[in-house]
Each structure stands twice: as C-alpha cells, then as structure tokens.
Amino acid sequence: MDLVQPGLGLVIWMTLAFLVVLFLLGKFAWKPILTMIREREESIEDALKEAEKAKDAIRKLKSDNEQLLNEARQEREEIVKSAREMKSRILAEAETKANEKGDKIIAEAREQINAEKSAAINELKNQVAALSIEIAEKIVKQELASNDKQKELIQNALESSKLN
C-alpha cells in the first residue's frame, strides 16, 4: 500500500532538508541561543547572589545602627542621670553653704547686738553714775550740812553701790 511505502524522492529531499536544518540552525541559531540563555541564566544567578549579599549587608548595617542607637540611648540616660545627680549635689551644697552663711550672719548679729548692748549698758552705767554723783553732790550739799547726816549718807551710798 502507498500509505506505508517510503518514497525514495521524499526520503532524499527530507534527508537533505533536515541536514541543512541541523547544520545551519545548529551553527547560527541553536548554539548562540543556548549560549546566551546560559549566559543570562548565570548573570541572573549572580545578580540574585549579589542581591542576597547586599541584603545581608543591609541587615548587618541595620543591626549595627540599632546597636549604635542603643548605645546612644544608654549614654544619654547616663548623662541625664549624672546631670540629675550633679544638680542635687549642687543644690545640697548650696543649701549647706547658705545655712552656714546664715548661721554666721546670725552669730555676728548676735555678737554685735551683745556688744551694742554692753556698750549701751556701760553708757547707761556711766550716765547713771554721773547722775548719781550729781544727785549725790546735791544731796551731799544738802545733807552735808550736818556731819551726822554726811556720815549716814556715805554709809547708805556705799551700801547701795555694793548692790549694783
């Protein structure tokens, strides 16, 4: 039957045509296409690897940043803490100094007051003495009209002065 009988002409043409296809496409199509597909695949793979690397680097950088930030935060806290301490210390110092100064001023004032007081008392004493002498003189002048009375007076005056 014709259907399953190979024809010589067809076999020759097909062999020729397929050989030409194999040769020409093999040289000018399949080889460059496959090479370039492989090249591209390799470059894509490389790019992916690079991207992975970059990602890692970024991750590392991020963690570094985080660490830096943490450190900075800690430092800030420390600074604030020490500032607070210094403040309270300064305040305390100022308070003690002020207290001391106040005490000193009060003490000085007291001394002065005492000095003034004693000065005033002294003056009062002198004036009283002068007054007393004046009075005494007057009395004496009056009293000493008689001797008895002079003696009594001296006696009394002496006694009273002892009381002072």
């Binding site: 067809l10 296809v21 370039m36």
Partner: protein
C-alpha cells in the same frame, strides 16, 4: 490528561475506520457500477488528501458538472532516468485526458514510462507494471518540508539575532514565545534523559522537536492544500533514522556491553542460546521503527478522523438526500472542530514524544557504568 485524550482518540479512530469500511466500501462498489453518477467516495478522497501529490490542490469549481475545474498549484517534476538523465518540467503538463506527457504517464500520482504503444500495462490487481523513472519531484510533501524549514530559519534566525542584539536582557517578541519551548526541550527533555552530556545533542533535539511541531501544525491549517508532512512514512523514517544513527555513533562501551552482555540477567539467557543479546539487538532496530510508525500513525489517524467527519456529511447526503446531509453536518462539524483542537494538542504531544524518546535513546547510549 494525556492518556485520556489518547483514549478518546483511539475510540474515535475505531469509529472512523468502522464508518469508512461501511460507507466507503459501499460507495466504492456503487461508483464502480455507475461511474457516470460521480458519487462521493470517502475512502478515495481521504487517501487522496493523505498521500503525497505532484500538485497542491486548492479547490474544485463546478464540482460534479461537465465544466468541473480543479484549481491547483502545479509543482516541478524532477525525473532521473539512466538514458535521459535529469528532466525537469511542471506537473501541469500532465493535465490532459490521459495524464501523459512526453513518454511519461501519471497514474494515481505515480509516474511511469509508457510502453511502445504509449500505454500503461496493468497486472491482474490493476497495478501498473511499467518501468518507473526515479522520481525526485518537488511534491506537495516536499513543499511542506520546505515551508517548515523556511519557517524554522525565519523564526530561529530571528530569535538568534534578537539574542545578539539584546544580550543579557529579558526576551521580547517572538523570542519570549520561543524561549520557553527551547527551555522546555533543554530542561524537561534533554537534561533528565541524557544527563550532563546533553549539550551535544541539543541541536538535533531542538531541530527535530520544532520540525515535527511546525510540520504538524502546518498539516492542520485548512484551505492550503492539506499538507501531511509528518503523516508521511518517508519523513518519519528519515527522522527516526537520524535518531538511530546518532544513537549508534555516539554510543560508548557500556551501551554495547548492555546489548551483548546485559548485566543483571541470568547467564543461561545468554549461553548457549544467546536469547538476550538477540532480543537486545532486535530492540536496537525496533526502537527507530516504532518511532517511525508512532509519529506517522498518530498524524495520519488525526487527518483521517477529521476528513471522515467531514465525509459523513456527503455520505449521508448521498444516501438519504440533501436534508440528511445538512442535518448530519451540525454534528460532523462540531466533531471536526473538537478533533481539530485535539490535533493541536497531539501536534505538540507527538513532537514531545518523538524528542523525548530520541533523548532517552541518546541517554542510554552515553550512560556511564554504575
């Protein structure tokens, strides 16, 4: 999915053949009795479409009337005879009453040398026994081959060019359509079947895959004369022979050890009667034969089924009148459309199967000892 469609196909083939036998034979005898009636013969029409021809028949004007006129594209006829050497002329020269030109007569698309009376001599089975020149004509199938080859040059030449132009960049246009297919052949067929030595087989595998696929698709395009390239046994034979030759000539020592001293087989299967070596040796030749027949039979069967469904319209029309023909046409056309879609799948599937099996044979030829 694949097996389902193949099953559907086998069933469809059986039905189609049954119908062919019933109606085709009836009509063959009917038309023999009364040739003047110009009845429709499905078997003859289908065979005419499937077999090779010396012209591309596009359509027929005024069919069934005395002014019947065939619209053909004539193709060059190339003959070689010992006495006259190479002769080239157009097939339109045979378009006359007795299909003869010079001393040649064309009978059922075969060219014979006429006897002294300018006649053909037939034996009792009505086969012409005249001498035949060597026919190297550019037939319909050769035209199909050339179209396929030119398409391949055009597609893959362009593809290679755009790779050079857009080196290292993403594919574009026809490149992005074909690249997945090239990768499919490389990653799904060559690499798993052959292993790390796959690269030197890639040109053949790619060529054979795309040749079969494009030729299959060419056969499914209607109105261009019905090319049946991969459904012609000469074509599949050549392709399978390429596979066989490449397998044999690239094979390593292990391949031959496997054939003549199959490992893992009890010794009494090899000595004294070399049963296994003989079976393996036969297997070596059966493989390409099976490759030849599988592709040829699948594609031819697909064409026969589609043509049978179309023929049903005319068979019913002739049997039961025009009304029946119109009625059947609804079902027939629906089935032909379905079959056409199935054939689109089969076109790819058969290209895949042929390439895969070739790759497996190559893989066996270069397999390392383990």
């Amino acid at each position: 999915m694949r097996f389902n469609s193949l099953n559907t196909k086998t069933v469809a083939i059986r039905i189609a053949f049954a119908l062919l036998f019933i109606f085709g034979s009836n009509y063959a005898s009917a038309s023999n009795e009364n040739n003047e009636e110009n009845d429709f013969n499905a078997g003859e029409m289908i065979m005419h479409h499937i077999l090779d021809a010396h012209e591309i028949h596009l359509f027929t004007l005024n069919e069934g009337t005395p002014e019947e006129h065939h619209i053909n594209i004539p193709l060059p006829i190339i003959l070689y005879t010992d006495d006259r050497g190479v002769e080239v002329f157009s097939s339109s020269k045979f378009h006359n009453a007795d299909h003869s030109y010079d001393r040649y007569i064309m009978h059922h698309e075969k060219i014979y040398i006429a006897d002294a009376d300018g006649q053909l001599v037939f034996d009792e089975k009505e086969h012409a026994i005249n001498e035949k020149p060597i026919d190297l004509s550019i037939t319909k199938t050769v035209t199909g081959i050339l179209i396929t080859v030119i398409l391949m040059f055009f597609l893959f030449g362009g593809m290679a060019k755009s790779y050079k132009k857009r080196r290292g960049q993403a594919p574009k246009g026809v490149q992005s359509f074909l690249e997945p297919l090239v990768l499919f052949v490389r990653d799904e067929i060559a690499k798993p079947s052959i292993g790390h030595k796959y690269e030197r087989y890639m040109p053949f595998l790619l060529s054979v895959f795309f040749f079969i696929w494009i030729a299959n698709l060419l056969g499914l395009i209607p109105f261009i004369g019905g090319f049946n390239v991969t459904g012609n046994i000469s074509i599949t034979l050549v392709l399978a022979t390429f596979t066989f030759v490449i397998t044999t000539f690239t094979s390593n020592k292990n391949y031959w050890i496997h054939i003549f001293n199959t490992p893992g087989v009890p010794w009494w299967l090899k000595l004294p009667v070399p049963l296994m070596p003989v079976i393996e040796l036969f297997g070596m030749f059966i493989k390409p034969v099976v490759l030849t027949l599988r592709l040829f039979a699948n594609i031819t069967a697909g064409h026969i089924i589609i043509l049978s469904f179309v023929s049903l319209i005319f068979i019913f029309g002739n049997l039961f009148g025009d009304g029946a023909g119109y009625g059947v046409s609804i079902v027939s056309i629906a089935f032909s459309i379905f079959m056409n879609f199935l054939e689109l799948l089969v076109a790819f599937l058969q290209a895949y199967v042929f390439t895969l099996l070739s790759a497996l044979y190559f893989g066996a030829a270069v397999e390392e000892h383990h």
